[in-house]
């Protein structure tokens, strides 16, 4: 399944790229996109893992920008 979250807020395009690369490495993630332009995060994964993966993604995002969070 695909799930789109809003991000508050990604403030540079390269950061978005770094976040995306980290999230793609999370186990169970089929695809991930972080868009600086739309301030959105898309995660494609198995529905059952979504909660867990979103938590992991939040951690990965925090590492790039501690002020950025996933709006759930």
């Amino acid at each position: 399944m695909k799930k789109v979250y809003k991000l508050d807020e990604v403030d540079c395009a390269v950061c978005a790229q770094n976040m995306e690369n980290s999230i793609k490495k999370i186990k169970g993630v089929e695809n991930a996109v972080v868009s600086y332009v739309t301030q959105k995060l898309l995660i494609e994964c198995d529905e059952a893992d979504l909660e867990k993966i979103t938590d992991e993604a939040q951690k990965a995002i925090k590492k790039v920008d501690p002020r950025c969070r996933i709006v759930r």
Partner: protein, 598 residues
């Protein structure tokens, strides 16, 4: 401006004032350095902190690190004003970029402000406010003037004008009254109406459109992937070059400080921000410009394909023709009136056409629809059948007139009605426009008979046509065309029964999709209304967007390479380097804003 942007603006102002002050103060040596450190830290502390954090997380080559390294290096070799200025200018550029992106995001999301917030649902004889998600099929809803229609529905009470512009791009309000369907996301403007829900919120058009828009920035095209890959090797290469510039020439030429300074300027130019931000922003703007016209693009990759289209393949009914059948002739006025009175109870396109032929005047009873054939009913005490020739013959009535819908009253023939489909007024001009913009071929695929297809073929001046095709044949034919074509093949249809063809094309466009969730899902680009003139218009937008993207790519890379060369040769210093870096970014972003006006 957001809170974060304001905070950054104040820091920039404070640092600028202090910086100018320190430049003017007559201090020297260590004091001068310490004083310069104050504005430096005010404006750059977050960059330094970010750089350290990123290194510990393994993201070494990114802008914060490069800026930190360049400015700290400048401090070490005693170029204090340069260091502060670079940091200051970098932050001004970031702020600008942030505001510009925010603005264009807002202008596009305002455009797509179609999500209904509340709905008034009838429960126990009273209307109560609920959220759109709670609406069930069959619920009666009250839509007041100014409110959005929350789910796809049909009107049961009242009449009003509804503003469909957000959904269809059509600026003229649509008049609706009882039994008219209304699309979710449209705004009721003049009078309150009561409607009955046909779909739940999750299945309604508005939700499909919102989902599509949400996902559109997520489908990256070739250009965006190129930039991502480019950024990944560009920065490390420039850093490596900087190392070479700093330490290799001094071995032969001496003057280490000068070469290190040049190397630091290299670092300042090494940020690929201009590209990383401007390419997706241009596509976003282009997609926004398209959606303002009721053209929804599922991703920047489809905009790329559309820009490269060589062959357009089209469906006939509903695409080149209006698909709205009209009665063009009838034999017996009284019999046609009776037929209209009966046919208004069916949703079949032919029946709808007949029902609009005259004002329905009679009450009818015992209405019965015979699928694929017609209808029967009692009207004014007479037994009436309306439908195909075979239906009348089954009822023992001999058809003696002409038309394609026939009426039998009390067992005898009462008259024929001719129902016609028309070629769209602008179909011919659209085909012309497509040719004018360099589309090599426009091909029509239709399931219709040779006679019907030929008429349309002649009237629209398309290049090729294939008729009497079953859906499977259409896919085969399309594959043939794709195989022969050197460019991209676009298919445009109404999305109702051509989903496989839509999927097979390089870029499938469904038109008139407002109201058809299936069509939205099967296609890559969606025209919310059924205006075929949107096709050349979309191609134009796609091409312009691609041009802006290419301009930005070529311009940014060219300027950066030029500045790198000038710096290495000693013609450009750190001041110019930061101007080049931030300036290129600002110009590229300003250039992308042109897409919003396409």
């Amino acid at each position: 401006m957001s809170r974060r942007q304001k905070e950054n603006l104040y820091r920039i102002i404070a640092a600028t004032v202090l910086f100018v002050g320190v430049v003017l103060l007559p201090f020297d040596g260590i004091w001068k350095m310490l004083l310069f450190l104050v504005p430096y830290f005010i404006v750059g502390y977050d960059v330094l902190y970010g750089a350290i954090r990123n290194i510990t997380n393994g993201h070494v080559f990114e802008e914060k690190f490069l800026m930190s390294l360049a400015t700290v290096g400048a401090f070490i070799i005693g170029e204090y004003p340069e260091a502060v200025f670079v940091m200051l200018f970098f932050q001004i550029g970031e702020l600008f970029q942030n505001i510009a992106v925010g603005r264009s995001r807002k202008s596009i999301s305002d455009l797509m402000d179609i999500a209904p917030e509340i709905a008034n649902v009838l429960c126990d004889g009273e209307f109560c406010e609920v959220s759109p998600e709670e609406i069930k099929v069959g619920d009666t809803l009250l839509i007041k003037p100014g409110e959005k229609i929350p789910v796809d529905a049909y009107v049961v009470k009242g009449q009003s004008y509804i503003d469909t512009s957000a959904m269809t791009g059509e600026s003229i309000p649509k008049f609706v009254s009882s039994y008219d369907n209304v699309i979710s996301g449209c705004i009721n403007t003049t009078n309150p109406i009561e409607v009955v829900a046909l779909k739940e919120y999750a299945d309604s058009t508005v939700m499909k459109v919102l989902e599509l828009v949400e996902h559109s920035a997520m489908n990256k095209g070739r250009y965006e992937s190129f930039i991502t890959r480019f950024a990944r090797f560009y920065t490390p290469v420039v850093v490596l070059l900087a190392l070479v510039v700093a330490f290799v020439p001094p071995i032969f030429l001496g003057n280490l400080t000068q070469w290190v300074l040049r190397a630091l300027s290299f670092l300042v130019v090494s940020c690929p921000c201009a590209l990383v931000i401007s390419v997706p922003l241009s596509f976003f703007g282009g997609i926004g410009a398209a959606s303002r016209r009721g053209v929804l693009v599922k991703g920047s990759n489809y905009l790329e394909i559309l820009a490269q289209a060589k062959v357009v393949v089209t469906d006939k009914t509903g695409t080149l023709t209006t698909g709205k059948l009209l009665v063009t002739d009838f034999e017996n006025k009284e019999a046609t009136r009776i037929a209209s009175s009966i046919e208004r109870f069916s949703n079949h396109p032919v029946a709808r056409a007949v029902s609009f032929a005259t004002n329905a005047l009679y009450d009818v009873q015992n209405v019965c629809e015979i699928p694929g054939k017609g209808m029967s009913a009692t009207c004014e005490g007479k037994e009436v059948v309306v439908g195909s020739r075979s239906l009348l013959e089954e009822n023992g009535i001999e058809v003696t007139g002409k038309g394609n819908v026939f009426i039998g009253i009390d067992g005898s023939y009462a008259g024929g009605i001719t129902v016609t489909d028309f070629v769209k007024e602008n179909a011919r001009d659209t085909v012309k426009a497509l040719h004018a913009m360099g589309i090599e071929k426009v091909v029509m695929l239709t399931g219709d008979s040779e006679k019907g297809a030929k008429a349309v073929f002649k009237e629209t001046a398309i290049d090729e046509m294939y008729h009497s095709l079953l859906p499977v044949d259409k896919v085969k034919k399309l594959e043939e065309i794709i195989g022969k074509c050197t460019g991209k093949v676009v298919y445009i249809g109404d999305g109702i029964n051509d989903a496989p063809v839509l999927k097979r094309a390089d870029c499938g466009i469904a038109m008139g999709a407002a109201g058809s969730g299936a069509a939205i899902e099967a296609s890559d680009i969606v025209f919310m209304n059924d205006d075929i003139a949107l096709l050349p218009e979309s191609i134009r937008i796609a091409r312009k967007t691609l041009n802006i993207v290419k301009e930005n790519i070529v311009f940014s890379i060219a300027v950066k390479v030029l500045v790198l060369i000038l710096t290495a040769l000693g013609y450009a210093d750190m001041w110019q380097a930061v101007f080049a870096d931030v300036g290129v970014m600002v110009i590229a972003v300003l250039n992308t804003l042109r897409t919003l006006k396409l």
